[in-house]
């Protein structure tokens, strides 16, 4: 009799069906409304930047995986997502080479240098954005694109014109993306929709995004009370610039964020609070992005906020 070949493996023998790819696809879907809003506001240039970044990121990832002899897993969609997130940070007016540079930096320096998916100590799209910001500030700042659009950046209005001007932005306009920021990052309402959908689907744990929003609101409230008439209120800070984008899509980068419940909540609160602090006192206009990078550096610290493990059985 021919012996029957059975499959033997360690338990569990069934899996949840969650995959990296599924996670990436759902996150991409969650970004679709914002991408659509970006095209609605900025037209084809926005589409061009998104396509360039996404294409560059996928090509870079594939090339690195091939050259380094690692298994090619570019089809898991993580590079595509990385590229799109990078594009969301750029102004729609970014020249083609800048879009490519940002995506390449995000993939190569932000991720592959550290061993690929899961190894990066900082949020890769933000690393690409930050390096481009430092290198080509004029082209990177959405505020410099005012010649091409009648949209204005609420955060720079606040910084340079004061609270009276900033108060003129109705919340609804901010939600609808009637503001100048990164081409996708500005779509606060659409991003909120996508982010909440991910949370409801259980694909995103609520601790970081809600911690971030709470931190932003609390810090804005504190500063408003301390400096009445100068600092903007919580609602403004929540909806202006990239707060929502950072809270739901950047700060939640799996590798560079903590994993314990308390760690995630503390990290979110910290990043949210820091984003208002940087906006208020720093030289950079949108502190949310730098705050995420800063919190990422502190992730190992937040990961120490871990629960005690279940007691081991007594020896004997």
């Amino acid at each position: 009799m021919i012996p029957l070949k059975l499959t033997a493996s360690c338990p569990p023998h069934v899996l949840s069906g969650r995959t990296v790819r599924g996670l990436m696809i759902e996150t991409l879907l969650a970004l679709c409304p914002a991408a659509a809003m970006a095209v609605w506001h900025y037209g084809l240039p926005a589409l061009r930047v998104m396509a360039l970044c996404a294409g560059a990121a996928v090509c870079a990832e594939w090339a690195v995986e091939r050259l380094s002899g690692r298994p090619v897993r570019v089809d898991d969609g993580s590079a595509l997502l990385l590229g799109l997130l990078t594009a969301f940070l750029l102004p729609a007016t970014a020249p083609w080479w800048l879009a490519l540079a940002a995506a390449f930096i995000a993939v190569l320096l932000g991720r592959e240098l550290f061993g690929g998916l899961g190894g990066n100590p900082l949020c890769p799209p933000l690393l690409g954005w930050a390096i481009c910001m430092l290198s080509w500030r004029g082209l990177m700042k959405p505020e410099f694109a005012v010649l091409h659009t009648e949209l204005v950046s609420p955060l720079s209005e606040l910084k340079y014109q004061g609270l009276a001007v900033a108060d003129r932005f109705p919340a609804l306009d901010l939600l609808l993306g009637q503001q100048l920021s990164g081409l996708g990052a500005a779509q606060a309402g659409a991003l909120l929709l996508g982010g909440l959908w991910l949370v409801l689907r259980g694909r995103l744990r609520p601790h970081i995004p809600f911690g971030f929003l709470a931190g932003t609101a609390l810090m804005a409230l504190v500063l408003q009370l301390l400096r009445p008439g100068v600092s903007a209120g919580p609602l403004f800070h929540l909806l202006a610039g990239g707060t929502v984008f950072a809270a739901f899509f950047l700060a939640t980068d799996p590798a560079s964020s903590p994993v314990t419940r308390r760690g995630m909540a503390a990290y979110g609160l910290f990043a949210g609070a820091m984003s208002v602090v940087i906006r208020t006192f720093g030289v950079w206009i949108d502190g949310a992005f730098f705050a995420v990078l800063l919190a990422g550096l502190a992730t190992p610290m937040f990961d120490r906020l871990r629960p005690r493990v279940f007691p081991a059985p007594g020896r004997g």
Binding site: P3, L4, K5, L6, T7, A8, S9, C10, P11, P12, H13, V14, L15, S16, R18, T19, V20, G22, L23, P71, R73, G115, G116, L117, G118, G119, G202, R205, P254, A255, P258, V259, T260, R261, M264, D303, R306, P307, R308, V309, F310, P311, A312, P313, G314, R315, G316
Partner: protein
């Protein structure tokens, strides 16, 4: 996701599977008391275990036909009249003597120490299993006798039956603590926590309903632990220990095909056998055939640090990090991250989106550490590394409900 973890609160009645012509008894390191060629009666003690791990008894009468590795094969002549089962008894004046008597009947009882509280765990160990509920429901005389015996051994001031909510199970006059039947809360350590509100309290012992049944059977009828009740696709089958998996599957009308998994246990915690001749060990509670297409496919991917494994882990371990230590051979590092606390529920691997074989890493670390601990103290022992105990084909560990420390 919620429903896949639901544990049964109903159970099918218990059916008897006819005894096979041959059983292969896992000895688990026990010392043989019979020689090949000896005639053995059903119920006869054939091997003696050190400690209180439970001696081994012939589950059918016949002839000791072969010893291979850690297994004793007994076969019987189909034409010969079956010899009557040899019955024993659990006797003893004090707890220690009772413990020894019980172990001599094949029931492991090293952990049945003095305690204030004895928890009888009637929560099923895994989704899809109904064997424990069936024992509580349909074998209540034995269960009650088991409880009385446990009372005399552990002398608790209280015995509590932990049962699924709404199942309506009872254990004589003892209080019933009803729990939401949800995996992994039926694991002994977690059930005790649910009952006492404390994690691994020193003054509580826990006995699974299946073990209590064996105890009661020994006390009431003098029968050794020669039977296991297995849930096989919704049916509950009482099987001779040592019967082949094939024998049980044939009775249940189940077939395994190329590439399927045949599991002693359920899909979350079962041990895969790679040979249908593998014996049903003492303490088994289910036999599952998992079609190839439904089976897990693990990958050699890197951890993406999403943390889902930690968030689902009932032992609150940072599994991603701990398993990475284990993966790269740094077992002490894994221990620092809580390796010893792992309950082997498998949920970490179940949830991992990178499909990393997390429980396999955990077991690797445990095995290597145990091996290192074994190798260290007796410098006098002349054992060569090649003599390290190797698991025999198809063997499955006996302590199925709790991982031995």
């Amino acid at each position: 996701m919620r429903n896949v973890f639901r544990l049964a609160d109903r159970a099918a009645p218990i059916e008897d599977v006819p005894d096979p012509l041959r059983v292969r008894l896992p000895l688990g390191g026990a010392r043989l008391l019979v020689r090949v060629g000896d005639a053995v009666a059903a119920g006869q003690r054939v091997a003696e275990s050190p400690g209180l791990r439970g001696d081994v008894h012939a589950s059918i009468g016949g002839v000791a036909a072969a010893v291979d590795g850690d297994f004793l094969t007994i076969s019987r002549d189909p034409d010969a009249a079956p010899a009557p089962e040899r019955l024993g008894e659990v006797a003893g004046a004090d707890a220690d003597a009772l413990r020894r008597g019980l172990a001599a009947m094949g029931v492991p009882c090293a952990d049945l120490t003095d305690a204030d509280l004895l928890v009888v765990n009637a929560l099923e160990p895994e989704p899809g299993v109904t064997a424990l509920g069936a024992l509580c429901r349909f074998e209540s005389p034995a269960m009650l006798a088991g409880a009385r015996l446990a009372q005399r051994i552990a002398e608790p001031s209280r015995i509590v039956l932990a049962a699924p909510r709404g199942a309506g199970l009872s254990l004589g006059p003892n209080p019933v603590h009803e729990l939401e039947p949800r995996y992994p809360d039926g694991l002994d350590a977690l059930t005790v926590r649910a009952v006492t509100g404390r994690e691994r309290p020193g003054n509580a012992v826990v006995v699974g309903a299946d073990r209590l049944w064996l105890m009661g059977r020994a006390a009431l009828e003098g029968r050794a632990a020669t039977r296991a009740v297995l849930t096989v696709r919704g049916r509950n089958l009482r099987v001779a220990v040592g019967a082949s998996v094939r024998h049980v599957l044939d009775f249940a009308g189940l077939a395994a095909h190329e590439g399927d998994r045949v599991l002693l246990g359920g899909a979350l915690r079962g041990e895969a056998v790679w040979d249908l001749d593998a014996p049903v060990p003492r303490g088994a509670y289910a036999l599952t055939v998992l079609p190839r297409a439904a089976g897990a496919v693990y990958t050699d991917a890197a951890c993406m640090n999403c943390g889902e494994c930690h968030l689902i882990c009932p032992a609150r371990i940072l599994v991603g990090i701990m398993a990475r230590f284990a993966e790269f051979g740094r077992f002490e590092g894994a221990q620092r991250y809580g390796l010893d606390s792992c309950l082997e529920c498998g949920l970490c691997a179940w949830v991992c989106p990178a499909r990393r074989p997390l429980l396999q890493f955990i077991r690797l670390a445990r095995r290597e550490l145990a091996r290192a601990a074994e190798a260290q103290p007796p410098a006098a022992s002349m054992e060569t590394p090649g003599d390290a105990p190797v698991e025999a084909p198809g063997a499955a560990p006996e302590a199925r409900r709790e991982v031995p420390a």
